[in-house]
């Protein structure tokens, strides 16, 4: 059957899927202090309405197509950043994680696995040492698959 992955995704919306991902879940809980927040609201809160530059300064690594939408490996890196906000824009709860780096952090990067409800953009916004913000995004496709040649 071609379709059951989608079935699994839908069924996994309960607790079973979450239990597999303790790290991501904790991060998501922390980020989603206000559960009803939209992606835009979270970004506005994080940046305090400051302007956000596109591109250099923050790097997001994610697969183009997820092998398993329930556990998608992603990593983010922003040299010199104080904080990085990670958002799955189309998830029911968009917040993924908010990483804070202390002054003694040897590097400003983090990797985790996240759960994606469907094909969507993952957005990373870094707050740099000088207080400015940079943003990048990666589109991750969640597909049924099954017909590769």
């Amino acid at each position: 059957m071609l379709i059951s992955r989608r079935g699994v995704l839908a069924a996994g919306a309960g607790l079973a899927g979450l239990a597999m991902l303790p790290v991501a879940v904790r991060a998501q809980d922390a980020a989603a202090a206000a559960p009803a927040q939209t992606a835009d609201e979270m970004i506005a809160e994080f940046t305090g309405g400051a302007q956000v530059a596109e591109g250099d300064g923050v790097k997001l690594t994610a697969p183009e197509i997820a092998e398993n939408g329930n556990t998608v490996p992603i990593s983010v890196e922003a040299p010199g950043a104080a904080e990085i906000l990670l958002i799955a824009t189309q998830n029911p709860t968009p917040g993924v994680a908010r990483f804070s780096f202390g002054p003694l952090a040897a590097s400003q990067d983090a990797a985790t696995r996240i759960r994606l409800a469907k094909t969507q953009d993952i957005v990373a916004i870094a707050k740099l040492a000088d207080g400015s913000f940079v943003r990048t995004a990666a589109n991750v496709k969640v597909t049924i698959g099954g017909c590769g040649g």
Binding site: M1, R5, P73, G146, C147, G148
Partner: protein, 563 residues
Amino acid sequence: MASRREFLQAGLATSAILAGLGLSNWSRAMAQQALTQDRLLQFDDFGNLTLIHVTDAHAHLRPVWFREPDTNIGVGGAAGRVPHVVGETFQKMFGIAPGSPEAYALTYPDFQALARTYGRMGGFDRIATIVKAIRGSRPDAILLDGGDTWHGSYTSLRTGGEDMVRVQNLLGVEAMSSHWEFTFGTQRVKELIDKCDFPFLGANIYDAEWDEPAFEPYKIIQKGGLAVGVIGQAFPYLPIANPKWMFPEYSFGIREERMQEVVDELRARNVDLVVCLSHNGFDVDHKMAGRVKGIDVILSGHTHDAVPEPVLVGETIIVASGSHGKFVSRVDLDVQGGRMAGFRHKLIPVFSDVIAPDPEMASLIEEIRAPFKADLGTVVGQTDRLLYRRGNFNGTWDDLICRAILEERDAEIALSPGVRWGASVLPGDITREDIHSVTSMTYGQCYRTEMTGETLKTVMEDVADNIFNPDPYYQQGGDMVRVGGLAYTIDPAAPMGSRITDLRLVAGDVPIEPARSYVVGGWASVNEGTEGPQIWDVVEDHIRKTGGAGQDAPVSGITVKGL
């Protein structure tokens, strides 16, 4: 063409000598001379290194008929660019005369008539002759296999891929990449790797749990005083396009950063040349060549494209060598100061009636086939038409398979995977070996299930996006799912979710209703525990009952718009 040549010279180092790319030589030779082995193998040695590339044989040990596609739609930047050029347009682009041997080898028009004239192509005994001849003049030539070698035939299924490893070892393959190899399952892949006299490379194959490299990423091959770094790149979407439960330990992906990291590592080790032995597919390789810096040559596989000239992207050349053993690429390179300073290339067509079989390889193939001889040769029925698969949408083989599913499994709708492998059959006998050529796999159960119209539409949209997404990194390299009992209109350039319209049942010509359930039969499910008879048995039963392929009622109705 002239401007492209100038660009080649400008783009590479000044010592580049590009006296005649492969195709122009080949075209002229073909047009002016009768086909002879000497002519096919004619090549003026060039530079100081030779690469030999074979890929995507799909375990076809013996020569085959293989009709190239009549439809290969390119989207976005790939529109109108090789390999998304077919038929007469392809012939014009490369100066190929209609009806010529190269027209037969590379394009579909008049395939059936030309097949009778020029004969079957491929066969590993012929490939062995070519490899030996090249090594005769260039003893240090490096033979690289792009993968999809172990899967795709009756003998490979029955021997668990071991027949192909024996052939590769005898041929002297020096490294390989992979895709369908993994459908034998992790355990079997490991057993076969132990039997290989060469490395099985995969820079993008990771341990799924620990997210760290699981295979050798590259091999530095020392030949003729040069250090050649060969990077393996497996098909990136194996766990999506094929059943990941068969190899749950591994994760794949394009992993562009990883490729750059590995190239940089090789450069830091002062190799003279970096070669990527890729199973990405042509469009993915084309994009990757423009983004990863420092690859000299990409030997491209997966999408089964036979491209007569290397395609240059920046300072990287991409060489694509077709499928099913039809072609062997020879690439001579002038390597100076740690980079490619020039090249000469020839896509050698393996005309089996012209190239003499190598006796040693012929006898190994004979030995491999001997235990299965009766099965392989069993005539199951006849076809009154050419049976072929390759192309973006249903071929005649797919029509026959879909009809078999509809009738043998009593389904309203049939779905058959859009794979690009499977040889053609000329009008006449259909053997059991022919059926296996288009169906053989380790997960061939023919399921019967129910799907709502809405789900069906979702499936079709999903598959269409895997082929027609304008960003090659989101493409999986197959063709559109084949359908039976179903008609639809597709606009490849439309966004995902709106490419497929006007879904209808062929029977009664009524619209598919989103909420209604339909009985659907299909095969090659990626899900564990799929039940049903093997598809090759379903097809064989159907052919035996009906006498063969000869019904004229359309099994599907596909309209392509927006081109």
